[in-house]
Amino acid sequence: MVFKITDAPIDVGRVIEQVEDRNAGAINTFIGTVREMTKGKRTLYLKYDAYVPMAEKKLAQIGDEIIQKFPDAKVSIVHRIGELAISDVAVVIAVSTPHRGDSFDGCRYAIERIKEIVPIWKKEHWEDGTKWIGDQRETTAYPSGKPRKEDLI
């Protein structure tokens, strides 16, 4: 199991290998890629930045949370930072479990948690400007400057 922030292209096959297990019948993989069009706006490229040591800790914490839910799961998560072009892979999550439903649920949980607690930021570069994108989950983000209690596990 590997939890890593990298500035190099991600080898999807390697991430999958890291969760292989004789008693896994299912591996679910989520690959987040750079999409060209969002709400009618054309992205030229993206820049990801991270608070690297804390981000790696939080990715590992997400792995632990998944194993609490699904004790036989194996999890690996690699997130890339730096400048990414359209279709480049930003994140790869792999979750193996004995039965298929848990692999889907564990992987889905991981991507939602990444968007809640992992200190990684995306800066969109459009033809007409740039913007740091916050809060993709479109929840109201820390209005008092305090994290919600459940994010502090």
Binding site: G32, Y48, D49, A50, Y51, P53, M54, A55, K57, H79, A90, V91, I111, I114, K115, E116, I117, V118, P119, I120, W121, K122, K123, W132, I133, G134, D135, Q136, A141, Y142, P143, G145, K146, P147, D151, L152
Partner: protein, 78 residues
Amino acid sequence: MIRVLLFAELEDAAGARELDLSLEEGTVSDVRAILKEKHPNLNAIDQAMPAVNEEYANGDDKVKAGDTIAFIPPVSGG
């Protein structure tokens, strides 16, 4: 000395990713108040989650010399 880390729009607004505060002891809220006084364009720090030594923290948590406090704007990984 307390080490302060700023990211994303906070880094852009302060013009620096890292600042040193000459403070021996205080709370997370104290640090936030000092930063806003020194950098009036750091208002977005109110929407950021504080983290002390790489763990999320609350406003009344203590910080002391040697600690690192980071202000984490709403995240957008994935």
